[in-house]
Symmetry: C2
Subunit: 185 residues, 2 copies
């Protein structure tokens, strides 16, 4: 099975539920790259249409993959080698198709309630037995993926339910979701 993740900076909601493009958080790129390497994923797309943000991400990646960071911290190189940039989710899907020879199915993650969601157990089962197609798991920054992105996805994961509190950072939510789907605990 081939599994990719994407960190979406546009389109996502802001605090007023308006569609916005969020700024890149470099620490998120590090944390999700390290998660991708930990769970043996095939790649990690940072999705933003903003050129300045793409340039920032590329500088970060180059520093750690081919620059001085690669010598300073080889384990970080291993993780950040998995990162690619994309303008849109569609562009990420095209990249995966080129690599894998077939379209990926998308899995949306959200803290909101949607009608047709999959449990972690169901989704883990699907990933392990669900045919030859790759999967792309989408994580939203800001106040989360827009309804349009979620409803266009092939699958929607149920929200992480804490004790009446679902306000985790995207970093820690991604960690928990990947562990539930792929940790094999």
């Amino acid at each position: 099975m081939s599994i990719y993740i994407a960190l979406i900076h546009y389109p996502v909601y802001d605090r007023q539920e308006q569609v916005t493009a969020t700024a890149l958080t470099t620490l998120d790129v590090h944390d999700l790259a390290r998660l991708a390497r930990t769970y043996g994923l095939d790649g990690f797309y940072v999705v933003t249409p903003l050129r300045s943000q793409q340039a920032l991400a590329r500088r970060l990646i180059n520093h750690w993959v081919t620059g001085r960071g690669a010598v300073f911290n080889p384990t970080r190189k291993e993780a950040l080698s998995l990162v690619s940039m994309a303008d849109t989710v569609e562009e990420a899907l095209q990249g995966i198709e080129q690599e894998q020879g077939c379209m990926a199915k998308t899995v949306a993650t959200t803290a909101r309630r949607y009608a047709e969601t999959r449990s972690y157990r169901e989704m883990a089962e699907l990933l392990h037995t669900g045919g030859d197609n790759p999967y792309l798991i989408l994580f939203g920054t800001g106040w989360g993926l827009t309804q349009e992105v979620v409803e266009k996805s092939n699958y929607v994961l149920e929200p992480l339910e804490g004790k009446g509190y679902n306000h985790l950072s995207v970093r820690t939510a991604a960690a928990i979701i990947l562990d539930r789907l792929l940790g094999g605990a």
Copy 2:
């Protein structure tokens, strides 16, 4: 069951395996506070003996718990209300004893190998059935908790094993560990 977490800034290892005091990362305080709230924990101790770092943490907590941040983002207040400061692990243990009326047992987390470790399943079982005492789960910053801290703990959790890679951030590692112990998935 009463469960606390502590984020340890001293004593931990630096990259050369020397004992050091790391600087506070404010984002870690936010992320771990939100995790503590999500999993219904009783408290979260930020452990550092450095006065300047304690002052920084207190400013952050006050902003979100009683200052303007509390109005701006009430869910962040709910999370950061769980945070206390301590000079040492011992001081955190004393704080818990005052609150709960009995000493907590400590659970060390580490990416290194130790002889006597508990699996996540064993530890989850212990937390649910292990008597009336509270537990304090220790997370190390920098290059991890010192051998002395780990060996003085009542329990040591097995390392998170990725596909030959165990270099997660303390934020994401804490998320995965708390979910495995308390997520009830």
